[in-house]
């Protein structure tokens, strides 16, 4: 029960909720009521002064606008002022000879109640259907305001008012219909023009140069058009239309309501002077024509403003969305930049590591061969990437014997470089520990098979050269066939011996071979980066070209032969990326030995 009462109260409160809901003292309410009463009465007085014809009827009743605006802004507590204002506004009736005080009081109480209901209905309709106290943001709300808050509300107020006046003899029965229409339309126009004007300026009370300038332009232009019309006596009221459009597009609700009010007043004044298109055969006709004009002006103006407001709102939303997108983009850009920076830092660390690895790798490849009196030696290793999987090695085994190694690890890059270092160290260590050639290779093979989690293997040619005799014992474990050159310009390949690479089959026995290097003869060892260097046509350098170069440089120094080979490969593969490590090791048995 209580709930329902509370609910009804809440619904009622919501339906008649004004724009200004601040709590006020009784004194403040009395004060506000007096202010509204004064405004209402003043507006009523103006109507009486500027009414058309001997009855001083106005086509527009501004007090209705004031009443509705006051109710919109302050709520039902301002209704006493409206009742009282309307009660007093009937004072010209007192001058009629037949008027008694009681007749006046009863008739004007009726119009007063009509005004109160009109204002309440106006507010209630807009609140209920649009949920707001002003009609300026939505085209739909404009229609609700004009049809509901103006026309429907005025119908109620006008009906009650007319009937009250008729009941007590102030309206003759034969003028009843005409009075109905005039009363209703004047009230509706009053709400539409002056109500909207007050609401618009209450909503945006702050003055700036923009609105002041527009207001001045609107007032001057209206006055100018009216003056021109009066002077020329031509019906040029259509000139108000561009002015209304200007106000709507350039300055919003305040200027449009101002323009509508100014145009209405100007049109009324000009019509009173008997000029213009709204002058009818009778006063009642003039009033009707004016009212239609006012209705069109107001409807057009308010609709324009609402549509414009919706457009601006959509633009603002679009702009906000764009700004949000831009913000997102800049955030993402910053994120990407940050990630790039991290990647660059990481890359720099990796580059640094690779550089260090390369230096380390270069440092384990011997370059100074001056200690070997009986052999001239030249060697080079050029990795395809920062670090390589090829290597060569030269080390003394004692008794004038020399260990010579060339090897090629499967794959490239860090893994290959690491495997290369392991193989090189293992082989050199085993050889220096005094193992025989076959033992050495078998041991390295077994170890690589055992300690090789990433399935790599390495082709190796390991040779032992006796500097004094030129005897060479070697094992070729899956490596390229070496070339032996003689000073007379011949070169021959040492056929492979059927051994697989190291790190493939653990229990393999490797075949060993031997030969004698005559003084001046050279043993040329290389990796398949030499023979499989490709040119731009996709052809390989091949063993044939290598043997050609070896023949031509057979009577030169090991260093010359090595350079001749690497130069030939470079010239052959010019314009292509080096695909594999290129490694050469050349050993000559010196004549002096």
């Amino acid at each position: 029960m209580l709930d329902r009462t509370t609910l009804r109260k809440t619904t009622f409160a919501r339906l008649f909720e004004p724009a200004d809901t601040r709590p006020r003292s009784l004194a403040a309410w009395i004060f506000l009521n007096i202010i509204v009463l004064a405004a209402y009465s003043l507006a009523g007085l103006v109507v009486v002064l500027f009414g058309i014809g001997p009855a001083k009827i106005s086509p527009i009743y501004p007090p209705a606008g004031i009443a509705v605006a006051a109710t919109f802004l302050l709520g039902p507590r301002i209704l006493p002022a409206i009742f009282l204002g309307q009660f007093c506004n009937g004072f010209p009736l007192l001058s009629l000879p037949q008027t008694t005080l009681s007749m006046y009081a009863l008739a004007n109480s009726g119009t007063g109640v009509g005004s109160i209901l009109e204002a309440l209905i106006a507010l209630g309709v807009l609140r209920a259907l649009a949920g707001t106290w002003h009609p300026f943001d939505r085209a739909r709300n404009v229609v609700i305001f004009l049809v509901g808050s103006c026309l429907a509300a005025a119908c109620v107020g006008g009906t009650i008012g007319t009937l009250s006046l008729w009941a007590f003899g102030f309206v003759p029965s034969d003028e009843l219909a005409e009075t109905f229409v005039t009363f209703i339309l004047a009230d509706a126009a009053g709400i539409a023009v002056f109500g909207a004007l007050i609401l618009a300026w209450y909503r945006e009370p702050r003055l700036n140069l923009h609105i002041v300038a527009h207001a001045v332009v609107i007032l001057i232009a209206t006055a100018a058009i009216a003056s021109l019309e009066t002077w020329l006596r031509y019906p040029i009221d259509y000139l108000y239309l561009p002015l209304l459009l200007f106000a709507g597009f350039r300055a919003g609700p305040r200027s449009v309501t101002l323009a509508a009010a100014a145009i209405t007043i100007a049109a009324i004044l000009v019509t009173i002077a008997g000029i213009g298109p709204f002058v009818g055969k009778t006063d009642a006709e003039s009033i009707l024509l004016l009212e239609v004009f006012v209705a069109v002006i107001t409807f057009t103006g308010l609709l324009l403003v609402a549509v414009r407001a919706q457009q601006l709102e959509a633009e603002a939303a679009l702009q906000a969305y764009n700004a949000m997108l831009e913000q997102r983009v800049s955030e993402r850009t910053a994120e990407v930049a940050q990630k790039n920076r991290l990647l660059e830092e990481k890359q720099a660390r990796i580059d640094d590591d690779l550089h260090t690895a390369r230096i380390l790798q270069e440092s384990i490849l011997p370059t100074d061969f001056s200690a070997y009196a009986g052999a001239g030696i030249a060697a080079s290793m050029r990795p395809a990437l920062e670090v390589g999987g090829d290597f060569y090695d030269v080390f003394p085994l004692g008794d004038g014997r020399l260990g010579l190694v060339i090897a090629d690890v499967s794959g490239k890059g860090m893994a290959a470089a690491f495997f290369m270092a392991v193989t090189r160290t293992l082989l050199r260590g085993t050889a220096l520990a005094g193992a025989s050639l076959a033992e050495c290779i078998a041991h390295v093979n077994r170890t690589l098979c055992r300690e090789n989690p990433i399935d790599m293997f390495v082709t190796v040619l390991y040779a032992e050269l006796d500097e004094r005799t030129g005897a060479v014992n070697f094992v070729n474990a899956g490596h390229c066939e070496p070339i032996v050159t003689a000073p007379n310009g011949t070169a021959r390949l040492l056929r492979r011996s059927g051994n697989p690479p190291l790190g493939v089959i653990a229990d393999r026995v490797f075949a060993e071979h031997s030969l004698i290097l005559a003084p001046g003869e050279m043993l040329f060892l290389y990796t398949d980066g030499v023979t499989e260097a490709a040119n731009q046509a996709g052809e390989f350098f091949r063993v044939r070209r290598l043997v050609d170069v070896a023949q031509r440089f057979a009577d030169r120094s090991p260093h010359d032969l090595m350079l001749a080979v690497t130069d030939s490969v470079d010239r052959f593969s010019v314009g292509t990326m080096q695909a594999d490590d290129i490694t050469c090791l050349v050993v000559r048995r010196n004549l002096a030995a």
């Binding site: 493939v504 398949d528 499989e532």
Partner: protein, 111 residues
């Protein structure tokens, strides 16, 4: 080089056609890794493999290594004389079971 793969029973046959050198060895290496991942026997048909370079041998070594580690049989069939010689001097021929044809290789598989 062209590669094609087929499956007969529990044997995967990999057919290698054309020249196998450093320019394609990476591709073959990848294929070989894929084939090794499949359970069963592996038959490599090299009847139309015209040439294999030093770098081209590496995928075959990888294949043999993996097969050995998994105790898988890898058959090589249709090996031409010159290819056989390259495998021979590289010490790789005895890593494979060598047959004349794919059918012979499959027939010889342990059941």
């Amino acid at each position: 080089m062209e590669l094609s793969e087929s499956r007969i029973g529990d044997a995967t046959t990999l057919r290698v056609v054309g020249r196998v050198d450093s320019s394609v060895s990476k591709l073959l290496e990848q294929k070989v890794t894929d084939v090794i991942a499949i359970e069963g026997f592996i038959v490599v048909d090299v009847a139309e493999m015209s040439y294999v370079s030093s770098a081209g041998l590496r995928p075959f070594i990888t294949l043999a290594k993996h097969a050995k580690a998994k105790n898988q049989t890898v058959s090589l069939c249709g090996v031409r004389d010159e290819i056989a010689e390259i495998f021979e001097i590289s010490g790789l021929l005895d890593l494979f079971a060598v047959h004349d044809t794919v059918e012979a290789a499959i027939a010889a598989l342990p059941r």
